[in-house]
Amino acid sequence: MTTTADPTTLEIGKARTRKEDARLITGRTKYTDSITPHGTLHISVVRSPLAHATITGVDKSAAEQAPGVIGVYTAADLGVEAVGLPCAWPITPDQKAPQRPLLAVKTVHFAGEGVAVVVARTVAEARDAADLVEIDYDPLEPVLDMEAAIAPGATLVHPELETNESATWVFDAGAAGTGGSVDEAIAAAEADADSVVVKRRFIQQRLIPAFMEPRSAVCDPSGEQITLWAATQVPHILRTMTTVTLGVPESKLRVIAPDVGGGFGGKIGVLPEEMLTVVLAQKLGKPIKWTETRSESLLAAHHGRDQIQDITITAKKDGTVTGLDVHLLADMGAYLGLVGPGVPILGAFMFNAIYKFPAYKFTCTNVFTTKTLTDAYRGAGRPEATFAVERIMDELAVELGRDPMELRQQNWIKHEEFPFTTVVGLTYDTGNYEQATDQAMETFDYAGLRREQEERRKNNDPVQLGIGISTFTEMCGLAPSRVLGSLAYGAGGWEAASIRMLATGKVEVITGASAHGQGHETAFSQIVADQLGVPFEDVEILHGDTQISPKGLDTYGSRSLVVGGIAIVKAAEKVIAKAKKLAAHLLEASEDDIEFSGGQFTVRGTDKGKAIQELAFAAFMAHDYPEDMEPSLDSDAVFDPENFSYPHGTHLAAIEIDTETGHVDLRKYVCVDDIGTVINPLIVEGQVHGGLAQGIAQALFEEANYDDQGTLVNGTFVDYTLPSAADLPNFDTATVSTPATSNPLGVKGVGEAGTIASTPAIVNGVIDALRHLGVTNVEMPCTSQRVWRAIQDAKGNATQETPIATHSPGAGLGSIDPNNPQGETE
């Protein structure tokens, strides 16, 4: 049952400004750090400046005597040495998973790991006292390089595991029966004069999610339920995992994610500091607050990406691809995050992308190092996959002397071939790569720019032009619970929703998908307004509090709309079914004769009818309702889709490179995304713009650098160079739509598209600009220095190695030396 309202009044498709923005932009909302229950005590974590060391002594005496200090505690003092933080994704049955303690017990395993915690009356006093805690360390060898870490004789991060290899996960299409054996495809190609084999190594550098609101938690132990406020993407998972970790009964816990200022996957974890607030609140009987500093956030919040990718592609000389082999090393950091080990595995099903590879194999080894742990970061596995396949398609095009777009067209799934089951066994329901590509190429003026590129090359112009292509797809809407189960993921993927019809005709919608900046309140209100035929303004979206929204699996993996939004549709359908029954009763008509449209239930062929608001009131009054129904229109639904959704798009970048300085200028960026039905084009545009900025940042700007001692050397926003609007061009974005068939709205998800697609488009463009000069690769981020050195190398001019200065010999919390804030060496 769906609405058939006048399409001109439909909310879906309207570019509504976001209803949550006024309170978010003016800062007049409550973030976790704004919440300070009476009597709150504050904590500050004393962190290790060393990557790998034995703790030989902790002297708390000076800190304990500092003003305002309530106590200073180590794991032993709190009796939590045996408590380990959860990892919910054992990718293999024998995955090696070290216990991650709330505070380091005997050994620190990465710079930034907590060793002690100070509790004080004010946050300033806690900070002051944290500086007074004296910890003695016996340094151990840091483990920094993944290949060295898994070589024989390597220093072990966790000696009790007897290896630095956490797990090796393999998907072999030949063995799975979903495709051919890649080993055979490579052997055949090597033996065939009419085939080529192209091998490349790509590096996914380490990135920092860098959400705007630092992480924060407040725990109030008074009351029957312990209340934990947290700046988290996953309030429901946090509640369950707090129970698993600390043994507090789930029914005794209330978790609230108030407004949350961004996450990008970075707030998907269960944090030692969150657990410390609970432990300390219970111990001291007082509310406890923790809010990290920006420096702590960059250092200790989980990082993203960090893979070495060895890719082999085979193809016939006519361009037809015949096989793809993927070997990954993925840096887990010092411990396994909540879903960290599964992040590269999410990419396993996406390396084949939009192409018809007949043979495929994916092998990933997860490796421990003495660095900050890695976990989900916008795209989580899929940006890495998309980068590798889109880069290798360009390399194959060069090898074969083909236009890279033409080669893609030759190999992609044609629109008439959908639904298409890929070499990994996923069924892409809909898509039209030709449509998105044609529109993007026309907007971009692909042919004109290729001509300009040719002229610049011919004239030896100091500014060279490159054209970067990325024709991407992704799997969105992390759901099918059975599929997640088959991957040994520690939860399902369903989402819950409830609709409450209030007596006055207003509507409360409860969703388990709690937003942290996405605009759920606006988009979900638009959906409900259309479904129930009520005004947009009459819909209220409630979320993020386990007392209000007891059931949910939260927000990540572009799942809110395609799973959570559909759960709301399913609940609305139940409301309408109940209202129809009540309407039939009140109108003295058969239920079969009741029509529903635009919020009105009418008797077919008459002008008799009831508005949904009238029915809500009638249900509330309950003076007159059918015998066989309860006096309520309220409804719940849980939705578990049967398939992922598969947004796709064509992204094109025109890159100008100043060959004299190496400066990379992104001159023009065009993308046409097929995300199915668009609920709110303004939100879509915002998601795409932000996603592009983040993906472009990986290509050109960002990298978390460690020195040879395992110290993060660019742990402030002075030197972890996030781009701003001033570094980016006006994006030319557009959408086309082949609606998804896996859900009733036809939506596909857009939260990660820009990030996944843009990185390879940029790097392909950079290399395309320089290819004729002999440059074959530039590592990310493609800084001016790297580009200049690549050009010099291609010319045969030797240049010196790029050094990484050690900026932060001190607490490991920043990079600015007051006497040397730029890190110059003399």
């Binding site: 002051d128 004299e660 701003s724 001033a726 600015i816 730029q822 110059e824």
Partner: protein, 283 residues
């Protein structure tokens, strides 16, 4: 992050500020806009016991003409300098370079005097003061003294300002009618300069008759590229001649190395950017 505890005073006159500074001794720090000091305090990389905020001293803020000089109060914010007609007419290079500093928020808070006294070699305005032979007026309990920019910059974050002294004003000779340009190269649009070149040239009948060139972030202090200046004078304002002169840009430099740019790359940039800056200034 939260700075360590400190006392805060906001004097209303230079005399009061000097008194507070003398009383504070080694542990006193001057706040002159705070765009570098506040982050250092927040990161707890410095912990002064007293902060003396010069923001309440009206006499330190403003721009005036004094004969053949333009005089700028040390506490004049970047934003005012960029928009000032006297500066634009007579010291255009200063306005151009100041406009490239960080972002709009920083330009409303940060001050010329604060930047010069901080003496970060990656800061943009030292090279301008040096190239334009600015004079810096320093006040103390015993009176004022004037130091040339050449003598002002001593080392990394070290200037000729002594104990109990405050920089009060900066005097720029007029460069009315000169061409000028500030060529800046950085990692992101609002980042510090990896390398930058400040140029003012006087061109008469197609020939460069006078030239001033200053380099940012090519040593422990701002550097005057005297070799380039000498090579430019008497040359035609042509691309070839300018490029040849720019080859002297690295003379006397000690380029630092960091993750953004190793020394050899900085040296290369200095030459390329010098050529571009002179060409733009002369054009």
């Amino acid at each position: 992050m939260i700075p360590s505890k400190f006392d805060y005073v906001k004097p209303a006159s230079v005399a009061d500020a000097i008194t507070a500074l003398v009383q504070g001794g080694d542990d006193a720090k001057i706040l002159a806009g705070g765009q570098s000091l506040i982050p250092v305090l927040r990161l707890r990389l410095a912990a002064p016991s007293v902060i003396i905020d010069l923001g309440g001293i009206a006499e330190l803020r403003g721009i005036r003409e004094d004969g053949d000089h333009i005089v700028i109060g040390a506490m004049t914010p970047y934003h005012d300098i960029i928009r000032d007609d006297l500066v634009k007419e007579h010291v255009a290079l200063l306005a151009q370079a100041t406009a490239t500093v960080a972002d709009n928020q920083v330009r409303h808070r940060g001050t010329l005097g604060g930047s010069l006294a901080h003496a970060d070699p990656a800061g943009d305005l030292g090279a301008v003061a040096l190239a334009l032979e600015a004079e810096l007026v320093i006040a103390s309990a015993t009176g004022n003294r004037t130091v040339t920019a050449k003598d002002f910059f001593v080392d990394y974050f070290t200037t000729a300002i002594g104990e109990g002294e405050i920089l009060t004003e900066i005097r720029f000779p007029k460069f009315t009618g000169w061409g000028s340009h500030y060529e800046k190269f950085n990692r992101t649009a609002q980042a510090w300069s990896m390398c930058a070149v400040a140029v003012a040239v006087k061109v008469s009948g197609g020939t460069i008759s006078e030239a001033r060139v200053g380099l940012t972030n090519m040593g422990t202090t701002p550097i005057r590229a005297t070799g380039v200046e000498a090579a430019l004078v008497g040359q035609p304002a042509s691309a070839d001649a300018i490029r040849a002169a720019a080859e002297h840009a690295t003379e006397g430099t000690a380029a630092p190395s960091d993750a953004d740019a190793a020394a050899d790359y900085r040296e290369h940039l200095a030459k390329v950017l010098t050529g571009r800056a002179v060409l733009a200034a002369a054009g």
